[in-house]
């Protein structure tokens, strides 16, 4: 390193030095980095197993230098359940989109949470099916246009967007549920803290941990990355508020 310089940023070793296929400005890339920083900082590369089901992040295993399994669309929670039960001392996470976790995989999600499976859900809620080209998701906002709701989501016919972090926090097996985002450096730091906390709770075996990321999809939303941040602030957070919905360890400590 050059004299007089100090390192303020470097790629975690657990994140492979590869060009990502994600669109410019997409939070998938940010979350990958945060996650791999945590794995590096906690020194758990050897003890971590990830599950990435179908969605834009199906290629996550190309970037994360850890053992990973690809799962069928919607089935990550079942797959992660079984990994964790076979290897209880490992850190297991599933990394799922909203179509995956909250449409086709809702049953697996609910039941894994209800059983209190001791792995971490990382739920990338971008309100759309990114990978398949921008169709409506169960989390698409009221009135939001997608390729399968070209006139805007009609909630009379399609129901309101599902609030998964709130929903799963009702289930007894869930130890921790928080919704975070990455629209600002401050929120990105918070997101990292939340992920780390989830991993720590997982390490203590206290129950299911569930981190929802209010994420973006500039390509599917048909806007620029900067516009996607405005959309998050003006439309997404009012309906999907950021914050902690359940924190069993904290409650326990208070008592």
């Amino acid at each position: 390193m050059k004299e007089g310089y100090e390192v303020v940023y470097k790629r975690p070793k657990t994140l492979l030095d590869k060009r990502m296929h994600y669109c410019p400005g997409c939070f998938h890339a940010t979350i990958h980095k945060l996650l791999m920083e945590i794995v590096e900082e906690m020194g758990i590369q050897e003890k971590t197993v990830g599950v990435c089901p179908v969605g834009c992040s199906v290629f996550a295993y190309d970037y994360m230098d850890i053992d990973m399994q690809e799962a069928a669309h919607g089935r990550a929670a079942a797959v992660a359940t079984a990994i964790k039960r076979m290897l209880p001392d490992r850190y297991v996470f599933s990394y799922q989109g909203d179509g995956d976790l909250a449409a086709i995989g809702t049953a697996e999600t609910i039941h894994a949470c209800n059983r209190g499976e001791k792995f971490t859900f990382i739920f990338i809620n971008n309100g759309i099916y990114g990978m398949t080209g921008g169709q409506m998701a169960p989390t698409t906002l009221e009135g939001q246009k997608t390729t399968t709701s070209p006139y805007g989501r009609n909630v009379q016919k399609l129901g309101m967007p599902l609030k998964m972090a709130e929903m799963v926090s009702q289930l007894a097996g869930v130890a921790y549920a928080e919704r975070v985002s990455c629209n600002t450096p401050a929120n990105t730091r918070k997101a990292k803290k939340a992920l780390k906390k989830a991993f720590e709770i997982q390490g203590k075996g206290l129950g299911t941990t569930f981190i929802e990321v209010a994420s973006n999809c500039p390509s599917g939303w048909k806007c620029t990355p900067v516009e996607s941040l405005d959309w998050l602030k003006n439309k997404v957070y009012p309906y999907f508020p950021l914050g902690v919905f359940k924190d069993v360890p904290a409650v326990k400590e208070e008592v």
């Binding site: 296929h21 994600y22 669109c23 834009c56 290629f59 990978m131 390509s219």
Partner: protein, 179 residues
């Protein structure tokens, strides 16, 4: 006669739509046509392409791997498809943004500075693809210019018909680039 072509470049450069327009024009001339886009996550990286076949006879396969005509609007596409031009075939490339020209000497290559010309001469970079299409039909008369204009009229929504003269200009400017 069967002409097998591929149009390739960044998404947003209008590669899919120029291929579609050409195919439509040929269909209007009574030809058999097929248009096959690249699809799926490969588009995430930003590149897009479409294969267009024009023929007097029914088309056997919409997917082909060697081409009579290659249109390349960015460097990755040029690199990928230059080797796949059939001997004696045609390669049209965008020369104001691609700085490394093609190297083969057993094919005909046409450099068209379409981005510069569209933004400087026509004040609208979006019609860059029409310039390229003009160059193409001059280099190889796959369809008549009139058919392209007819295709524009029939495929553009009426509220955009005011853009037809500009597109026509672009086609003509593109034709003038091929001597």
């Amino acid at each position: 006669m069967l002409v097998e072509m591929i149009f390739s470049g960044f998404g947003g450069q209008g590669v899919l739509s120029m291929g579609k327009l050409l195919a439509y024009a040929a269909m209007k001339e009574g030809k058999e046509v097929s248009w096959m886009p690249s699809y799926g996550p490969e588009m995430r990286g930003g590149t897009a392409n479409c294969i267009v076949n024009i023929s007097d006879e029914p088309i056997s396969s919409p997917v082909v791997t060697a081409y009579d005509v290659v249109v390349a609007l960015n460097l990755p596409s040029l690199r990928k498809f230059e080797p796949r031009v059939k001997k004696g075939g045609i390669l049209i490339w965008e020369s104001s943004t691609i700085k490394q020209p093609p190297t083969r000497d057993d094919i005909k290559t046409y450099a068209v500075p379409a981005v510069d010309m569209a933004s400087n001469d026509l004040k609208n970079v979006k019609v860059m693809n029409m310039l390229i299409l003009g160059a193409l039909v001059k280099a190889m008369a796959v369809v008549k210019t009139d058919s392209l204009l007819l295709a524009l009229k029939e495929t553009l929504p009426p509220r955009h018909h005011n853009l037809i003269p500009l597109n026509q200009q672009a086609i003509e400017l593109g034709m003038a680039q091929v001597k």
